[in-house]
Symmetry: none
Subunit: 537 residues, 2 copies
């Protein structure tokens, strides 16, 4: 059976821009458009030229090579001709392959928001689509509030869709603008729309207000639409849009869909979708959602419990898709509930071979249990786990020894009568028998310690230049200011590697210092491991 | 038409415990069970007694008043009788109203994971359900891997469900353990199962691996199941379980469901679901997901753009449900018109009267917005909000003035060669024109500062003797060690009053000191207010 093609339309740069707290610069937009283009989506909607300086600048030139580059904007205003509408004129002149017009399709909004008659709105749709086609562009129409509009006045909503199609729009997109329509309703309404527009020309634009943007999109595809709009990591207005990072693997990997449909994404590109998702979060400067479908660090993780030991026997029967198909990996969480086989599997993945009857393995397990009882969380700190394991099972060079540290925070009024807080840290370390003392100021004591620790590592200094802290999490384990504190630090370097370390103490500074130090040691160890591999090749 | 009842089954404390990074203490479990019970779910699954010390301790007594309290555990092992199975015996003796047995329903797993015959597994289901009923408990069976099992061997999967039902299980729960089954497949398979178990006895347990746990659960309800399992905020193994905070409002507020179904949750309780969701995140010490459906701070937010101005004209046509029905509120990023009455209501609750046209009210609103943009979270820090409001609108006595503080953490080797960390703080405050300087050591810098600050408050000292810090939470707002830090402190005193204060700074010590100081000032202010009230009586 020939598979039907589903067209993927990315609106990260337009609807995604409506996310509270997200504002893209022109440079951000260029980077994201390039990523999407390389990944292989069919359409990249870049924004709304004329609406703001960023988007106007972004549409000065075409930003994609393979994907069609789309400008978004309103249909022409009522009462002026298409050639006299300045907004439409900006859209026509933008360097895009296609124009996506947003058109009202709920009669109530035509009256209240546009203040024109129903007929004027239909004429505006026809005239705008015609003008785009005359300018040599592919035209499409986002029918705003389509499902709510259909419920209020089905004839008028259908008339809007029909006007767009009859004027020559390649796509008529049914938008669930308020996000509350249920999958069953969407299927029913799509079936009604197919009486005036064929499914091959219909698209779906869903929002996540009932956590069903993906399900609504898939229900619409099942009912016949062939274009689906969404965003990277599901960003978008309010609760977000349909998440393409979930939709695409589902369409390509789940037989229920993949047996019937195909997309323009290659299997190879799909294998990079986890990285795409995380790189996008890097651009947004936020931590990837751990529990995200397919791409989350926990998406293929199993904690010790009733499943872990059986999972090792036959992973495929415990995983709904193979993690490597989306560029993710299986994670067996090491924790105090974990069995011996968990430990061995986890160590092997890290290139550490150990026999099941090796006594040192029992020592390691006992140590992990003891540390976790004291508050360490090795399942969230892979690098600290590896350091502990290598320490017990093999050898890690003693790169440096911390002799002492001291840090000081002082708040007082300065000479001008302004409150001023100063944080200073002093770190004394011994390298190759030589004591080195560094001092630094920082934003707070941990920052000062971090700077001082990495200021002078002697012969190792050049190796840690690209080490960067990207996240710092503090958890108080048992309440009150006398509590045990757990600090988790995430670091990365220029190779793109990321690792996490943990420190636990009744003193937050002590805990932070421990995690900082382990991050540095891990980096030095990794450098050596990589160099060793290169030498062996 | 009489509505059909949907039974809500919460597994936050059991499947939620499988979430990487989440470990509940007995105290956490008690607090969460009490919240769920008050909220009105039908079943609270508390954990797996016998599997670990926490769960065993938790099941020493019944932890719910209204909801049925459920113990989870495996069916009896093959080859031993029910009365000789130690695991089953622990389950039967746990202080629960019901037992939920997890049973294999995929023949492959029966062979590989259990290592017994298909018939022995069916016998184990029958014997376990019978034993639970004989012990006077409601019995239910989670059919693990049901959908994958059904695809592999439909007859055997159905035989497992039928055995459970025929032995008298109140509920036979179809579990999509690996989380990849699509809504359309679930509907089809539920219809097949109804040939052996009536829908009134069927439940659904879905995972979010394709971001469709909510959609799968709803599809199963549409197909006939009447019990739905889920967790608070969708926590759970891998990508999580069906999110009850989304499912419940959808079932109760969306006509597509609400016209046909009802739950045990009252409209009043539903109006507190946003708070429930955020309080749960507080227990987990994590920031609520801003874009979460219904409960997220962005769920009813509209950014300046094509919708904002029209939204002001008629909010109902831009919101899929009224935000107040779930205890959330509309947020217009441009001009928050709804804000003013919100503030007046909040202040009145605290006994602060203010006229709507009072200029100082605008000052307060502007100040709160500015501070919240900088990272303050007044929703979680009632005492800090009240201090800010009273500062702007009325007067708070200047009890004392902080001149300066200094704290120092030092780690070094002592004379005996042992690593030793010392934290010391010095606080200088002015009371009645007199400078008082106190010094203290503590477990970490914050503890030292707390002790030093409260060591000598002059004539106020006796008033704060009963002040005690009960919780201290640190959240890093934007990653990295140079990030903004928010500290939330909870205090209480001998009267049983509890209050929370907040401090925000790029310096964790500064932020902590601010929150500590506000806690002391709040206590002094409260003492005066109470004394004033007593005098007036």
């Amino acid at each position: 059976m020939k598979k039907e093609r589903i067209y993927l339309y990315d609106t990260t740069l337009r609807d995604g821009q409506q996310t509270p707290g997200i504002d893209f610069s022109v440079e951000d937009k260029k980077a994201i458009a390039a990523m999407l283009d390389e990944f292989g989506v069919d359409y990249v909607e870049g924004g709304y030229p004329g609406a703001n300086p960023t988007d106007t600048a972004f549409f000065k030139r075409k930003q994609t090579a393979r994907a069609k580059f789309v400008a978004f904007g309103m249909t022409k205003r009522a009462g002026v001709s298409a050639s006299n509408d300045p907004g439409l004129s900006v859209l026509l002149q933008a360097a895009s392959d296609a124009i996506c017009f947003v058109a009202k399709s709920w009669d109530y909004h035509v009256k209240v928001a546009l203040g024109c008659t129903n007929e004027e709105n239909l004429e505006a749709i026809t005239a705008s689509v015609t003008a785009a086609r005359m300018a040599g562009k592919e035209a499409m129409v986002d029918c705003e509030h389509f499902f709510d509009g259909y419920k209020a006045n089905p004839e008028y909503a259908l008339a809007c869709a029909a006007s767009a199609y009859e004027a020559g729009a390649r796509w008529v997109v049914l938008c669930d603008t308020n996000g509350g329509t249920q999958p069953g309703e969407v299927a029913e309404i799509v079936n009604a729309v197919k009486r005036v527009v064929p499914g091959e020309s219909l698209g779906i634009h869903a929002h996540n207000d009932t956590e069903q943007a993906v399900a609504v999109s898939l229900a619409a595809i099942d009912a016949g639409v062939r274009q689906v709009q969404g965003t990277l990591n599901g960003i978008g207005e309010r609760c977000g849009n349909a998440n393409l990072v979930t939709l695409i693997p589902t369409l390509m990997l789940k037989p229920y869909w993949a047996d019937r449909f195909e997309t323009g994404i290659s299997a190879e590109a799909l294998g990079k979708i986890t990285r795409l998702s995380h790189t996008f979060d890097d651009i947004l400067n936020r931590a990837p959602l751990e529990q995200a479908a397919y791409a989350g660090i926990s998406a293929f993780a199993t904690k010790a419990g009733i499943h872990a030991s059986a999972l090792i026997k036959e992973p495929a029967t415990y995983e709904h898709v193979p993690p490597e198909t989306v560029g993710n990996r299986r994670r067996l969480m090491v924790s105090d509930q974990g069995g011996k086989s968990n430990f061995i599997a986890e160590l092997e993945r890290r290139g550490i071979k150990v026999a099941k009857d090796d006594r040192r393995l029992d020592t390691l397990i006992a140590l992990v249990k003891e540390r976790e009882a004291a508050g360490y969380a090795y399942e969230s700190a892979d690098a600290s786990f590896e350091l502990l394991a290598r320490g017990v099972l093999g050898t890690i060079p003693l790169f440096f020894r911390v002799d002492s540290f001291r840090c000081m925070v002082e708040r007082r009024f300065d000479a001008a009568g302004q409150v001023k807080t100063v944080s200073e840290a002093i770190v004394k370390i011994e390298i190759d028998g030589e004591l080195r003392m560094s001092v630094a100021e920082g934003h707070g004591p941990v920052n000062a310690l971090d700077i001082a620790l990495r200021k002078d590592l002697g012969r190792y200094q050049s190796e840690i230049e690209d080490l960067e802290l990207v996240d710092f999490k503090v958890r108080i384990l048992n309440g009150g200011t006398e509590a045990i504190t757990r600090v988790l630090i995430e670091s990365h370097d220029a190779t793109g590697a990321r690792w996490r370390t943990v420190g636990v103490s009744d003193n937050i500074i002590d805990a932070s210092f421990h995690a900082l130090m382990e991050s540095v040691v891990y980096k030095l160890m990794k450098n050596r491991e990589m160099a060793g591999q290169l030498a062996a090749e």
